[in-house]
């Protein structure tokens, strides 16, 4: 599952292939849509919940509120079933889905006129740590490279060769994770990649409840 981009996405992988997948794009409703998506893929596959042997979750980077939905859902789901939870960088999922066999860039929308991004050698090999920057500031580092993701599509001056997929799909994330599990590869801890410090502003009158 992944909620680091506007896509609310869940998929079920049986070790060989993706058996069911569900994606809906709605950046404001991650919390409402994720669990029904999980329910849908399990029901569609006709798999009993105890058959699940592991959970893979996109750890971002992504806008915090939505990102946390996926992480806390994965963590509690896995805890209830007593199975491991593996973190995968969301940008890696997009890179895997893009399937390019040449150097390229993945960029997602970080809002506030910034992108979350990383450079890749190919679909399976990330060359830089995920970062958050203004597109203009990274223009030199991404010059001449194809770019995938909504962040690339949003800023054509920086990413003239932008293309899809726009958002990550859990199907790609699961397929990538299945490859890694098979090969004994390493996962990230299931903790969010925020890449930004929290805005430390105390709101006025938080939690005031005025019935009427």
């Amino acid at each position: 599952m992944d909620t680091a981009t506007p896509a609310v996405t869940a998929a079920l992988h049986d070790g060989t292939s993706v058996v069911a997948a569900s994606s809906r794009v709605d950046a404001r409703r991650h919390g409402e849509l994720l669990l029904p998506a999980v329910d849908r893929v399990l029901a569609e596959a006709g798999v009993k919940i105890d058959a699940v042997t592991g959970v893979v979750v996109g750890v971002g980077p992504g806008p915090y509120t939505g990102l946390r939905v996926g992480l806390v859902t994965a963590a509690t789901f896995a805890s209830a079933l007593g199975v491991p939870v593996h973190g995968v960088c969301t940008l890696d999922g997009l890179a895997y889905e893009a399937g390019l066999d040449e150097p390229f860039v993945v960029a997602t929308d970080a809002r506030r006129k910034e992108v979350y991004w990383a450079r890749y050698e190919n679909a399976r090999t990330r060359a830089t740590d995920a970062a958050v920057d203004r597109p203009a500031e990274i223009a030199e580092q991404v010059a001449g490279l194809p770019a995938v993701g909504a962040g690339a599509l949003l800023y054509p001056e920086t990413f003239p060769d932008a293309r899809g997929p726009e958002h990550v799909s859990a199907a790609a994330l699961a397929a990538l994770a299945a490859e890694k599990l098979e090969a004994g590869g390493e996962f990230l801890p299931p903790q969010p990649l925020y890449l930004r410090r929290p805005d430390a502003q105390v709101p006025k009158n938080y939690k005031v409840v005025t019935p009427k």
Partner: protein, 364 residues
């Protein structure tokens, strides 16, 4: 199972990650992880910091609660969670967690109201709630007077603050006096050594034409701050203990007077006080005195159950199960302004059969 349901409750509406477990009206576990220390240097709760802390603390706090209670998650009869009101991003962590946990275990989910939970928690201390119960809820986030004929289905607002919450006033005055955050406990402590009659601070909304059950603490807050500033400007020492005692007296005087009056007007013979400010010793003492005079029975849970916690959510969830209230949908969302009149968020009736189908599919 119907009488004494075993329910796990999750609370993340503000800065406490709470997971409680109850069996009927018996408290089995009350695990809390608080991010209050992180917020202290900002002088108030920072929503993003609270949300990050909830995510980190969630699974460990659930596991600790289960261990403390000595029960297995498989034996639970339901999972309850605060669906609102509260900080949106903070609520979302708890709601998402509860949904996934309930779903994975194949248990019904109950999204419940934070305020109704504050009332229902008293069942863990003093047994089943009398019906109706009058409840005064006072904390950093709320100041409400509620009439609860049925805590699972019928909660009516009698009055509420029109500006600041009572607890916020304590925090603000503590800040003016350089006493740190949160302000409640330290003001309570200093007030014990001060004279509550030393300074006549104003009692908000206490005129004969003012709304009988609403509160206002903004004017009091300003009056106290001005009084302190005037002393400082005159180069005089601020009598911190007297200021604390007189300020606190003004707050609890209005709270208790209005609460007892509401009981009398409505013919209700029980008053419940909850929320973080219910830990205030002077509020408890004055409420006791006035309730006794009015022939009203006072019920105040121990301080740890008054502040935000998971046990209160579990308590209300258990009551929902016991009374056969409908469970919530998997689409349940966090509602930062969930009305106090909604004790819980039942699922849409036409969704039920869909879940039954997938339930057979998933768990049988």
């Amino acid at each position: 199972m119907a009488d004494e349901p075993l329910v796990l409750g999750i609370e993340t509406s503000c800065d406490e990650t709470g997971v409680g477990i109850v069996r009927g009206t018996t408290l089995l576990a009350d695990a809390i992880a608080s991010s209050v220390d992180t917020h202290a240097r900002f002088g108030g709760v920072v929503p993003e910091i609270a949300s990050r802390a909830h995510l980190e603390a969630m699974v460990p706090t659930i596991e600790r609660a289960l261990k403390d209670a000595g029960v297995s998650a498989r034996d639970l009869d339901g999972i309850a969670v605060t669906a609102g009101p509260g900080l949106a991003g903070a609520l979302l962590v708890g709601v998402s967690a509860a949904k996934a946990y309930a779903y994975a275990l194949g248990k019904p989910l109950y999204g419940v109201n934070h305020l109704a939970s504050h009332i229902c928690v008293d069942q863990l201390e003093h047994g089943p709630l009398p019906e109706p119960t009058m409840a005064l809820l006072v904390s950093g986030g709320h100041s409400s007077l509620l009439l609860a004929p049925d805590i699972t289905a019928d909660v009516r607002p009698m009055g509420a603050t029109i500006d600041d919450a009572a607890g916020e006033a304590f925090d603000k005055i503590a800040r003016v006096l350089d006493l740190g955050f949160p302000g409640g406990p330290v003001i309570d402590r200093l007030a014990k050594e001060g004279d509550p009659k030393a300074i006549a601070f104003p009692r908000g909304l206490s005129g004969s034409r003012d709304p009988a059950y609403d509160f206002s603490f903004s004017g009091l807050k300003t009056a106290v701050a001005r009084w302190i500033e005037a002393k400082r400007a005159a180069g005089e020492e601020v009598p911190v203990r007297d200021v604390a005692a007189s300020f606190q007296e003004a707050v609890v005087d209005v709270l208790t007077r209005k609460a007892v009056r509401a009981c009398k007007d409505e013919g209700v013979d029980h008053l419940m006080i909850g929320g973080g400010v219910a830990a205030n010793s002077r509020l408890r003492a004055l409420a006791e005195e006035r309730c006794e005079r009015a022939g009203v029975r006072l019920r105040v849970p121990r301080p740890k159950l008054c502040t935000d916690n998971g046990a209160m959510v579990a308590a209300l969830g258990a009551e929902m199960v016991a009374r056969g209230r409908p469970a919530s949908d998997w689409e349940l969302s966090a509602d930062s302004s969930l009305p106090v009149t909604d004790p819980h968020v039942p699922g849409a009736p036409d969704h039920d059969h869909v879940h039954e189908v997938s339930k057979d599919n998933l768990y049988s």
